[in-house]
């Protein structure tokens, strides 16, 4: 086992360590308006990069399809200027049955009672780091702005 793997495994058992940030990939590994699955502390996490270069992370598990697939969904926006009331919401559509999930909160946009876990994300020196699970009340959560943090990446 490499040192890196050992470190990650060590993280699993300790709750306080779950607050730490784990580097998962380079920003340029993520396509604009694309997603990718990464493994964070043993869990499958979907990281997404939007058109304005923000990065978001949700659990990769689609509760409707009961399969680990959300990273393979199409990324887009709903609402916003010219598209009815409300702000523009970045979302991913499940590749299985097309339910939409808000990238910021994991809230299902087709069913107010369903939400997938959302993770904190930041981008530092061109590296994407996934942090702890976000609290559910964190409705206005914003993704990590890559523009600001991507210097030297």
């Amino acid at each position: 086992m490499s040192a890196g793997e050992a470190t990650a495994v060590d993280l699993l058992g300790a709750p306080e360590d779950a607050r730490t940030w784990e580097p998962v990939c380079r920003l340029h590994d993520l396509e604009v308006e694309g997603g990718a699955a990464v493994l964070v502390r043993g869990e499958a996490v979907a990281v997404f990069r939007t058109h304005d270069d923000r990065v978001f992370a949700l659990s990769n598990y689609d509760p409707y399809a009961r399969a680990s697939v959300l990273s393979r969904g199409i990324v887009g926006t709903k609402g916003g200027a010219g598209n009815g009331a409300g702000e523009e919401r970045p979302f991913v559509a499940s590749p299985m049955h097309k339910q939409a999930f808000d990238l910021r909160t994991g809230q299902c946009l087709d069913d107010a009672t369903v939400r997938v876990p959302a993770y904190a994300v930041r981008v530092a020196d061109g590296t994407v780091l996934v942090g702890p699970l976000r609290e559910h009340t964190d409705g206005a959560a914003q993704g990590a702005s890559a523009e600001a943090a991507d210097e030297g990446g």
Binding site: G4, E5, P23, V24, V38, L39, V75, G76, K98, V128
Partner: protein, 858 residues
């Protein structure tokens, strides 16, 4: 109990006999009656109204019962047998094959026979009538060795016959006794306009000309002798001077007949014998016979109703007519000759354009009484119901027939009362149509659905624009805009978007959404744009600019399954495969432990591949000579074939070769929905080609091309587009058909729904594809040629490109760790997905952590 079941015998299987039988099944008459239908013609009922198109489309396309039997075991159809005797006391009908049928109720639907004037020589070889497919076949045969043809009769049927002769390449004369053409339907000025149209097509018209004899030469017809005019030379003579009811069976059995022929029946269509009924052209309700199909249909419904104890009655019919003769629209409705006292005429005539329109209005100018339209009958669907409903005319009624009168159409449909009959063929009122869209229980969402459910517009189609208008107005009125926008990001239909992309030459979604949309797109518009770009540019779907637009299937060039794994389908063109290749597929399936199943499209589906396994699986397949089967794309899937003339003792053409050629020609073609094809080597149709978007069936002379079929939830039989084609013409028509579909269909609209959505339906497709009415033929063919020339195997191209391959990993930061959510059990000796328990967290025994490969390590 069986002995309580009664027997209903229907004599005659024309359009009306067929409609009666259909209605008997649909309305439950077969719950109490066994039905026997006897038809004298060798084939089941066909669309006699469209008989003229027989030479273009063949007998199959005209059939009203392509399956040859009814989908109700209590109905038996016997064709090629004539009813020759009726014993009303014994209640039996004797048939030409010597057998006898007992009945409890008898329905006569024997139709009419052409009237042949008893002039000398009328029965010479070379003389024909125009009524059945057999008549047309005989005329076609005779036309082969003839130069000139003459039709006796310049009415509706005569002009149809003239059209047929002209289609067969004969120099054609029309001889009409009356001073104008279509004397029953149109006035002098309308007749003159019609005559100019017909003469401009190269036909010669003789009006006011009475045929006194058929000229004989060498025992055959050689021309017509005319009273007070020069004779007409012609080797083919067609009598089409009217019809007479076929009431012989009723006459000999002693039933009352009308003075001018036809079985005399009451309002319920019951004859003077209470167990005998008559419908259609052989019947004479109140002494009058009706030579149109719509009154016949009404009579059929009335008798079914009566047999069920209902109150239906036939009280006369709208004799309005609209048809296209020799490419000219002609319509006549209501009081076309201003016979009503004080009636006024409003006339619009444009001699240059060959348009003549006349409205007959009441003396106060408030009611429309009738009219004549020649050259442009587009207003017919709107005007005819105005007559029957008696609604008040707008202030300036001439606006209804002036060329730029579109605006007044809206108010006219608004003013129509609910009881106004919109579809006279099927007796559907405005109220019926509105009920279809407004009802709570399964309302119709569009005009096509209304036509399907109510039959409005399903026979002659002339009222379709009005149906559409009514439906759209209804939705607009209730505030439900029939929004044809693709999604919230594009206020365009797919067709409009297709054109926008083509006109601007866009290659990137970003430019398209910036220029013509809003927001950043979604799972609806992105794959639609990806498909449009692929259709136009034929680039790789995983190229940088289009990769993120793809649905997951296209994104991984495989089909996602319920547990997040994918299935793999290599192309097996035409279903033909060598044993060596078959073994390779077996070895790959075995080595990667893939569930293996034969598909309906004659190929092999390998299930259970993880994303990260796909490149290795395809490396093996590509090395063995396989290529992508595009099972994952909205694109051509397969062209299924039977084994054809190479092996089959019945085959008449090499269906396998054609299927392979077509599959290789259209492989990789991105389209609004998946596309499937089939080729059968003979009429036995073992390839089930008519269940495909395009189906080809071999004939002795070439290929019949069927289009717009599919299986699935809403199965549709493909319909004949063109018959007896050589291979080159077949491919040309197919190129045009497919490209026309790709350009104009809605997203996820299969060919059957697309054809139905076009104004004019299959006829419109035929005009564009076969007749090249839009002049698009070459452009469509060139677009297809570009596709064929630029095709490449996208799986091989993916394997050759590390950048595209980089995405085929389970986890970006742990590409060697399989996704723990995917697990299998075994069933019938193969893997199957295990039931999921919920999100899985990897245990400490599996190493994870620092990114590998393209990860963060610098």
């Amino acid at each position: 109990m069986a002995h309580l079941r009664k027997t209903l015998v229907v004599v005659g299987h024309g359009m009306v006999g067929h409609r009666f039988t259909q209605a008997a099944i649909e309305r439950g008459l077969t719950e109490t009656y066994d039905v026997v239908v006897v038809g004298a013609e060798p084939r089941p009922a066909y669309d006699r109204v469209a008989l003229t198109s027989f030479f273009e489309v063949g007998a199959d396309a005209l059939s009203l019962l392509p399956e040859g039997e009814y989908d109700d075991p209590r109905v038996r159809l016997v064709t090629g047998v004539e009813a020759v005797g009726l014993d009303r006391d014994a209640r039996t009908v004797s048939l030409s094959d010597g057998s006898e049928l007992a009945y409890d109720e008898l329905v006569l639907a024997t139709g009419a026979a052409p009237f042949v004037p008893p002039v000398p020589g009328h029965d010479l070889p070379g003389c024909f009538v125009y009524r059945t497919i057999e008549d047309l076949e005989a005329i076609r045969e005779a036309a082969g060795s003839a130069r000139v043809g003459a039709v006796v009769g310049g009415g509706l049927l005569g002009l149809e016959a003239a059209n047929a002769l002209a289609q067969l390449g004969l120099e054609t004369h029309v001889v009409e006794m009356a001073p104008r053409l279509m004397a029953v339907q149109v006035d002098d000025a309308g007749g003159a306009t019609l005559r100019r149209h017909i003469e401009s097509l190269g036909l010669t018209v003789h009006t006011g000309a009475m045929t006194s004899a058929v000229v004989e030469r060498d025992g055959r017809a050689a021309g017509l002798e005319l009273k007070d005019a020069d004779p007409v030379e012609a080797e083919v003579v067609v009598f089409s001077a009217g019809i007479r009811p076929r009431d012989q069976l009723a006459r000999t059995a002693g039933l009352e007949v009308a003075e001018r022929g036809g079985v005399l029946v009451d309002e319920q269509c019951r004859s003077s014998d209470r167990h005998v009924w008559a419908i259609g052209e052989c019947a004479a309700p109140a002494g009058r016979m009706y030579g149109l199909v719509a009154p016949g249909y009404t009579m059929a419904e009335v008798v079914v109703d009566a047999l069920l104890g209902g109150p239906g009655a036939f009280t006369g019919a709208d004799m309005s007519t609209k048809l296209k003769l020799l490419g000219v629209d002609v319509a006549s409705f209501g009081d076309a000759f201003a016979a009503t006292e004080g009636a006024l005429e409003l006339v619009f005539a444009d001699a240059v354009a060959g348009v003549y329109k006349k409205l007959v209005v009441s003396d106060d100018g408030k009611r429309l009484l009738g009219g004549v339209l020649v050259g442009d009958a587009s207003a017919y669907g709107l005007l005819r119901p105005m007559v029957s409903s008696g609604i008040e005319l707008p202030e300036n009624p001439e606006g209804l027939i002036l060329p730029a009168a579109r605006a007044s159409a809206g108010s006219a449909t608004d003013a129509m009362p609910d009881e106004a009959v919109v579809c006279s063929c099927n007796n559907v009122t405005k109220g019926d149509i509105l009920d279809r869209v407004a009802r709570d229980d399964e309302p119709c969402a569009d005009a096509a659905c209304v036509t399907k459910c109510s039959r409005a517009g399903s026979t002659c189609g002339s009222c379709k624009p009005v149906v559409k208008k009514l439906v759209e107005d209804h939705f607009a009125a209730v505030g439900k805009v029939v929004d044809k926008s693709l999604c919230e990001h594009f206020p365009l239909t797919r067709q409009e978007l297709f054109e926008v992309v083509a006109v601007h030459g866009y290659t990137r979604f970003d430019d398209i959404v910036a220029g013509h949309g809003r927001g950043r797109g979604c799972d609806i518009c992105k794959p639609a744009v990806a498909s449009i770009l692929a259709s136009q540019l034929n680039g790789h779907v995983l190229d940088k600019d289009t990769r993120t637009l793809q649905d997951t299937n296209d994104a991984f060039l495989a089909n996602i399954q319920k547990n997040g794994t994918y299935s793999v389908v290599p192309r097996i063109p035409g279903g033909e495969i060598t044993p060596e290749k078959l073994i390779v597929i077996g070895e790959v399936a075995r080595d990667f432990d893939l569930y293996t199943k034969i598909t309906g499209g004659q190929r092999i589906d390998l299930f259970g591949a993880r994303v990260e396994q796909l490149p290795a699986i395809w490396r093996r397949l590509v090395d063995a000579g396989f290529e992508s089967g595009h099972a994952y794309g909205k694109s051509l899937r397969t062209v299924k074939s039977c084994v054809g003339s190479t092996w089959c003792r019945y085959g008449v053409q090499d269906s396998v070769q054609l299927a392979i050629d077509l599959e290789l020609r259209y492989r990789g073609l991105r389209s609004p929905h998946k596309l499937k094809g089939g080729v059968s080597g003979c009429a036995r149709e073992c390839a089930e080609a008519r269940a495909k978007d395009f189906g080809v069936i071999a004939t002795e002379k070439g290929w019949n091309l069927y289009v717009a079929g599919n299986g699935g939830a809403n199965p549709a039989h493909a319909r004949l587009l063109a018959g007896d084609l050589d291979t080159e013409t077949l491919v040309r028509y197919l190129d045009r058909f497919l490209m026309y579909y790709i350009r104009t269909a809605d997203r996820l609209q299969r060919t059957a729904a697309w054809v139905d959505s076009l104004d004019g339906g299959l006829d419109r497709v035929r005009e564009v594809v076969v007749d090249d009415a839009l002049g698009l033929g070459t452009e469509l063919e060139e677009a297809m040629a570009r596709h064929v020339d630029t095709y490449f195997d996208e799986w091989k191209a993916t394997l050759d490109d590390p950048d595209k391959l980089a995405r085929f990993v389970s986890f970006l930061n742990a590409p060697d760790v399989p996704d723990p959510h995917i697990s299998f059990t075994t069933e019938r000796d193969q893997v199957r997905p295990a039931e999921p328990d919920g999100p899985v967290v990897l245990g400490t025994t599996i190493g994870v952590g620092a990114p590998v490969g393209s990860g963060v390590a610098r």
